[in-house]
Symmetry: D5
Subunit: 141 residues, 10 copies
């Protein structure tokens, strides 16, 4: 099987669409280029979502992240782009992407962006399944 970087994300059917549940992924191997200087940038990405009909396939997600390796991208824009690509792909009930960027200029930056399906509400109150704002295991680079 060929493994090349690719923007072609793949999906698989959600095996339990009747239930609100969360899939969380920590992805410490993200790198792209700074559009201004061409120098490499690095981040750890944290994806959290409540699937509707589809889930994101793991291997294609890995190749998708790889595809940014030689592309220029601003921190805020690329975090929102990836969230947009993934949410557009699977139309989840809820999705959040957190990018923990390596330090630049002595400043450490996170970008945290969310999507919700229009009109969707967590099934229960309080909606404890919604992930907290912090993933266990945030690393200090």
């Amino acid at each position: 099987m060929s493994t090349q970087p690719s923007k072609n994300l793949e999906t698989f059917p959600n095996p339990n669409p009747d239930r609100d549940y969360v899939i969380r992924m920590r992805m410490p191997e993200f790198t792209c280029l700074c559009p201004k200087t061409g120098q490499p940038d690095f981040a750890t990405l944290y994806l959290e979502y409540v699937p509707e009909a589809l889930c994101v396939e793991l291997k294609s997600l890995k190749l998708y992240l790889w595809s940014f390796r030689n592309e220029g991208a601003f921190h805020e824009a690329v975090t929102n782009r990836i969230l947009g690509d993934l949410a557009g792909l699977i139309s989840p009930r809820f999705m959040r992407l957190t990018a923990d960027w390596y330090v630049r200029g002595g400043i450490y930056t996170h970008v945290v962006s969310e999507h919700r399906a229009p009109g969707w509400q967590p099934k229960f109150d309080p909606p404890v399944v919604l992930p907290p704002a912090r993933w266990e295991g945030f690393q200090g680079h």
Copy 2:
């Protein structure tokens, strides 16, 4: 007494059905097989529930988890299946299962799924007894 892997879960009567309380279990010894490749998969499971009339018996739970050792199972499906089996067994007021899967393809995955009895509401407001989204002691494998 015979100890064999088994899907036959056992129960015992909830000693305090008049009260909403939480039982939490951390189970670091879960392993099954990847349905695609046949290779072993590993996870730590975290079970949290508010019992109604019944509780899950500890030893049968251990044998039940063992019974997945030679079965193929996708991450999302098996997490929801175990939640379904346990919730079906004891009809709890609330139940949540978190599976913290070992890293694959450089990506760390959690699956978190919940069940609530229809119409059930926590007795108090705010319902502080409902467990938070993170168990203390999440391990980095």
Copy 3:
């Protein structure tokens, strides 16, 4: 002064009954016996309460915990019994007991049980004084 294990809990008057405040106690020295096998069981107990007219006296609490040393007790039942004894003693506005039991059969178990005075509501909204679900310093045994 005699120091013997004893179920006779003592109290002292709440010095500030006009205020909702929380007393939290971490008690790492609890042990009892398994009713099935007679073998010792161990737990760290975490007590949190908002007192009404009375508070639990520290030394009698220590002797009370000691009194379980040679008694058989199931995890769920004894956690609720202790909560019941303490709540019955001082009729607090709010009380929660968390028992963090040592590992058995490869499974780590917590039992968390709460009591509230009927009709009692936290004075403020949001009621930040109510303790969070996790005590700082949960130990991995």
Copy 4:
């Protein structure tokens, strides 16, 4: 300049009374005496408040804490007394004091007490500026 223990707390004008903001102070150097035995007691205090017209001056706060060094004081009473003194001094919108007492009789005790100005509500919903129940960096003595 004289530095003597003193109950005379001083204040300074809140430089931003138009805004709800939080001042948090960790004070690891508190000691007093047990009224029963005369033996020393120790605690780390955590103060958190939203000021109204006044703030607590740092140096006088230090001397105020020092003034308890040779006084007898019960855990619950002195925590509430200090909260009362500070809240009486500056009439804050919100104030919380947490006392983390050193272990006695094998039991670790916290006392957490709050004050709110009558009728005061956090300006926003949800009121994220209100401090969480746990200060980062709680020490195990």
Copy 5:
């Protein structure tokens, strides 16, 4: 390119104004002078905001922080001033600044201040994207 301390903050257009997302920055290199004694003060600053039309440019932010190096500033006032400058610059939907000041007189101080655009409400309920009160990685100096 000239790099001098400067109060001239710069901005760039928010690439995703249609979405509520959070930018968080940890800035451990802040120092100013105590107005009373002239001695240096140090803090780690944590900035968190939901942008509207504009974002804060990283390099100008660094030079802005540098500009306080030789200025006198009280803890509470300067924290609120920086929040005010940044909020005035970009009119964000939400902004919070936390200053974690180094210990003085044996007391550790945090100042936490927030701004919200008038009438702005988080888009969803519960508004999980709003940052929690604690940044991961608070340092003990």
Copy 6:
């Protein structure tokens, strides 16, 4: 099979007597009584040894530790007694026992005792297999 507390330790043959290797055991469930007051004492024990012809059998070790539950024992004496019993049982090349006793009188106590076979030397220089003075995971009770 009967499980009763017992001083009868059992052994099994060292499967690799030709090699210097270390077996380390952390045993958090030790309790005995204070000979002066009759009150319970608690410790976590850490055993580390290089076996000669025999190893300590796990289940009998557990029952042996249990046998101290109702016996009076001073910290220093019982630590050395257990080391003496275990070393007498299996005549190891090297053995060390560390007892981490729960706090008493505000003071935390460790007792660390070692045995070496007369004339025994580690095979290599430097003898890196000899365990360091600290076991990972020392708990603060």
Copy 7:
């Protein structure tokens, strides 16, 4: 490419045989069966070695570890057997294997075993390249 469990370990030539250097591997996915009861056992393995002419190939090492999944094995024996297999395969200058077994009977066990080539000495004094007795990141299961 076929991936089946296999005892056939593979090697590759050491790219820098002129230098004493250390390769360390943490392998959290080891499981075998208890020879007495047939129940699953789990361990995290830590391998550290100074290669001579050969290194252990990563994928074959993974399949080798997998091959123990359905075999009975005592803790001490299997740790030494794996060390023996690996040392026999590549005749390293130095090799150490640490097995951190999951808790059984309330007792946590490590087995640490070493091999050195006869007559081999570290090139320098002190031989700082020899790994310390503790791998960073020992997990509490």
Copy 8:
């Protein structure tokens, strides 16, 4: 029994004088006065010793530490004085005292002092029983 601060330390016979073993004590409740300013100072003390004929009695040690509460003492001098008192009392084979003083002037200070009996050598080589330079659990105040 009277409990008053006292410089009269008491001893008890070493139950195992034939063996080199270490007693370690962590004492977080030490306070004295600064001789220059009269202000309170605080430290956590760590005592480690290999006893000869005598051991330090725990309760008298606690009262001895209490006796410094109202005395003036410089950091370096008082650490060495306490080491001298304790070593003079029991003539140990080895003794080390570490004082971890609370921050003053933005600077955190440790003082570490040792005593050895003239001519005494650890019995074995390497003398692993001698404590390492760091006690687990050093606190950041």
Copy 9:
């Protein structure tokens, strides 16, 4: 000034050649390609050295590490190559490079390699300035 990836490392004169001192650098932004599969690999590098006449210039080191971004490299070979390049460049008294590679196949790998100038000995005995085998802050990816 141009910033392009480059193998041209630069140096500056050691300002204190009369003294043995250590320079340690943690470099979390290393990435190269797997020679077999072409997929990206990641590592954190830790460099520690005692300079002789020259030191490694920081900015050229950063560009040098960048130069591996699109090159194929095996873990063991590239770690030794970088050590060789740096040691060849500045002929240090001592140098050690540790590469902490991200997990592959469920296995976490470190490679640790050292260089010493022929005949060089640390000036003092014991040579405490030589760095320990572990850098504080090893991350779990």
Copy 10:
């Protein structure tokens, strides 16, 4: 008393010159300027020494560190200069200075430098009082 930055370090007599003991100081408030760019640099300094006849006076040390605030200084040179100044001042038996510099160019740098009095040897063997290479509590900035 005047408090101005000053290179005039002061001393006080070592109260226990007959004993080898260690004074360790953690100083998180160091800042100077980069000689190339004029931009601020930050470091935490760790000083460890065995005094001979003199000790470094705390307040003058603080003012001395302050005196670098507006001076240009390279990392390696200034670390060695401070070590030289302090060692020249008090001629200690042993002194080590560790500077933990804030990240620059994505690289974290430590500089560790030592001084010993000519001919001085630690009094005992092994010389456990010599501090280890790592201070507890190294911060990740």
